[in-house]
């Protein structure tokens, strides 16, 4: 036991290093392929309200959903999170990104529709201190903590600290919408901006929320019997609700952008409101989630299955050409006299010591239409000057360049296996009457198969995930799935899709490895010795 502990201590630094810098990032990256927290975190109230809505009706959702959306979106806009949500939903339905962006800009205007008449009815509503006094009280600590948590989830920031404000229990009961909007404002002002809540004018959304509360007849009658702080101003407002806008938030949103009235948009939002989603994976195999279930994407948008197939087929072609080209070289290495073999070995290893980028760029020089290979072929008269071979920016270019780059990974395992085949086997075969070819094919070759297996696994797995070379010489026909993954990581920033594509690639490779183990047996693979 002590011995084991000691041994464990010795490997611990490496183990921790690998786990922290390699395994954890990979797992968290893979987790992104199903993670969808951004929707429920950014518009939590909307998501809950939307769950009541029946998308198949073709009708836009109830006013309640729009009210929640307004409250959620307003604070999200303050935290600049609404554009992220827009980008996320835009993966599923294009147009949502700009919808969220433009709507984000007009949220203040919507609030002012209520703010202006409210301030006209009672000037007290202009005062931040009046609002503070009206909303403050005791008993609302739990309510404050709930809003604090939601705010933290939405903004991805630490919201802990003293707010200097506790909503009154009575006002939470009386004005539920207003209490939410004001508490959000208070949290943001105190903790994010570091201001004193009482001195700040509330957000426009607070006025909008008061407008929401005043549409409820029960609230109006309750206000009339209310006698807490700001009761008179509230009663004045309740008496003059005819001066407030006579439409709801659905109309207000639809007015800003008619898309908000479309059931389609809401169906998409509802579909992607759970915190886990199969959407990225479906996307990776050219399918999509619709309210009617999982369907194939339209023909002209199907790219990933083709790309996966192409990656597999091209990796197979590359592996096969590596075997064909590498086998004789490995044989020479294993059978030449020591000195000659060392020189040959250096030639094989030379590419390893050259930067990958340099080698690939060199292929670019060789393969292009005005490049070395075409020039020589034209000069020799094999090819007309007019129709030079297209060797680059297509699959041919990728296969040629990658075969060259991955060749050492085939030669080295082959060599180390061949090195262990004693020459006496072939001698024995010949002494028994076999011709050179029979001796090779019946005796030598079967014994070198484990080397071919090892080399093939190595080359195939490297090829299937290759990125740089296809990117440089592949053009559009010769790119691999990894290039698409890189595109989603660095350009489109759709990390979820990149993670899903990556996970599928990983599973495919593991699956092939498993098949190989079943068919050939991994024990038969030798990397040497």
């Amino acid at each position: 036991m002590r011995q084991k502990m000691r041994a464990l201590m010795l490997v611990a630094p490496l183990l921790i290093f690998v786990v922290v810098t390699f395994i954890v990032p990979i797992l968290s990256m893979l987790f992104r392929s199903v993670e969808n927290d951004i929707v429920p975190n950014t518009i939590p109230g909307t998501v809950i309200a939307l769950s009541q809505w029946d998308g198949s009706s073709g009708e836009p959702p109830h006013e309640n959903v729009y009210r929640n959306l307004y409250i959620d979106l307003f604070k999200a806009e303050e935290a600049k999170q609404h554009t992220r949500l827009g980008s996320r939903l835009n993966y599923e339905q294009s147009g949502l990104s700009s919808l969220f962006r433009t709507t984000g800009r007009s949220l203040d205007d919507i609030g002012e529709l209520w703010q202006d008449p409210l301030e006209d009815i009672d000037p007290n509503f202009e005062e931040g201190s009046f609002w503070f006094e009206m909303m403050s009280g005791t008993g609302g600590e739990d309510f404050l903590e709930t809003r604090r948590e939601l705010m933290a989830l939405m903004s991805d920031e630490d919201m802990s600290g003293d707010v200097g404000f506790v909503p009154s229990e009575e006002i939470i009961q009386l004005l539920p919408w207003t209490a939410r909007a004001y508490t959000d404002f208070a949290l943001w002002a105190a903790i994010r901006d570091g201001d004193t809540v009482a001195e700040e004018d509330p957000w426009e959304s607070v006025y909008g929320a008061l407008g929401m509360d005043l549409t409820n007849p029960d609230t109006v009658s309750a206000i009339n019997s209310y006698n807490g702080a700001g009761a008179s101003a509230l009663q004045t407002a309740a008496a003059n609700i005819d001066q407030l806008p006579q439409f709801g938030f659905r109309e207000a949103f639809t007015e800003e952008d008619k898309d908000w009235g479309s059931a389609d948009i809401w169906a998409t939002i509802k579909l992607y409101s759970p915190s886990m989603t199969p959407g990225y994976f479906l996307n990776s195999v050219d399918m999509t989630l619709t309210p009617d279930g999982i369907v194939m994407k339209p023909e002209n948008q199907q790219i990933y299955t083709t790309l996966f197939m192409r990656t597999l087929i091209m990796a197979l072609i590359i592996t096969a050409s590596c075997i064909v080209l590498g086998y004789p070289v490995a044989w020479l290495l294993a059978n030449l006299p020591m000195r000659t073999a060392s020189i040959l070995m250096i030639l094989v290893l030379l590419p390893f010591w050259t930067s990958l980028l340099v080698r690939t760029s060199a292929w670019k020089v060789l393969l292009q239409q005005q490049g070395v290979i075409n020039e020589i072929l034209v000069w020799l008269g094999f090819v007309n000057d007019a129709d030079r071979l297209v060797l680059m920016n297509n699959a041919t270019g990728t296969v040629i360049a990658m075969t060259h780059i991955l060749l050492p990974f085939m030669i080295l395992p082959l060599y180390s296996v061949m090195k262990t085949i004693p020459p006496s086997y072939q001698r024995a075969a010949k002494s028994l009457g076999a011709t050179n070819w029979t001796a090779f094919w019946r005796v030598y070759f079967p014994q070198s198969v484990p080397g071919i297996g090892a080399g093939s696994i190595l080359v195939f797995i490297l090829a299937i995930g290759y990125y740089i070379t296809p990117e440089i010489v592949g053009g559009t026909d010769g790119v691999f799935i990894s290039n698409r993954i890189a595109y989603h990581i660095s350009s489109s920033l759709n990390w979820g899709l990149a993670a899903a594509l990556g996970s599928i690639l990983l599973v495919v490779v593991l699956g092939l490895y498993w098949c190989y183990d079943k068919i050939v047996g991994i024990d038969n693979v030798k990397l040497g010795g």
């Binding site: 004693p422 006496s424 075969a429 002494s431 028994l432 001796a439």
Partner: protein, 367 residues
Amino acid sequence: MADGASNEAFVEFERVQKSYDGETLVVKDLNLTMPKGEFLTMLGPSGSGKTTCLMMLAGFETATHGDIRLGGVSINDIPPHKRGIGMVFQNYALFPHMTIAENLAFPLEVRKLGKAEQEEKVKRALDMVEMGSFGGRRPAQLSGGQQQRVALARALVFEPELVLMDEPLGALDKQLREKMQFEITHLAHQLGITTVYVTHDQTEALTMSDRVAVFDDGRIQQLAPPDKLYEQPENSFVAQFIGENNTLEGVIKEIKGNTCVVQLDGGEIIDAVPVNVSQVGERTRVSIRPERVEYNRDRLHADAHTLKAEVLEFIYMGDIFRTRLRVAGNDEFIIKTRNAPDQVRLKPGQEIEIGWLAEDCRALDAS
């Protein structure tokens, strides 16, 4: 020589030379003639050229110079697979990816024999080496001795007239080796095949062969039947290499027909047979086998020369006694005596007088 062996040359090496690098000769002027049915062993230290000779005969090396003939036909230009020579390798070289039966069928298959005939011959060959029930196994599942038998069966299954064996018993333990030595010789004589056997183990060479070729420095030092090789070595190398041997250095004093008198460096006089010395005054190294040294004065000729000796050590070895003496300044002089009821057991410190029959003591070259 085995029964049925004719004296007609079957395998011939004529003035064969071999060099790998074009400068040093590994085999220098090899001449050898073997009749059909003979069991010939090439014996020598490593690097003496014996394996190279075997490889040239098998066709895996080409002679730089000279002619190798098989059945009167020069085989210099015939590739190994057309020579029809069976071969057993040092590490057996059984194909690991084939079963035992497949290994044995291989030479028949490449000769395009019918399936039924193949099976029958494989079975017969396996039965011959008592491995009949192992046909379905892989080489790795067999012990060293079993692999050895299979390798032998494979070399014989296509009925070659000549079989080459390259230290085939080197990897076996002593007991198994002795058993296999007997089996191989028995089989070779029974089938009447001509065998060239390479080894560096002199016991193996002596017990198995019709004739032994002792190799050193790229040449055959002596080619003779085992008894002659042991009792009448023709030069110092052979005398030293085969069996245990006492040597004394001196100068030829007198040569009379087939005996001579040698004066040792310490001045003592002994009798010997001149082998490859011819002149009086020439330096010589005399060689005498430990079991031919006599210390019982009664058993020696009356006029035989004797030497004084001091017993240094007495070793009891069961069947024999081994006594180490100091003779003429040589502390490593060994005598061996049979453990007979009347045998005297010498004691360390004892002074004795030793002598021998002149024909047992051979005056050889001093090199």
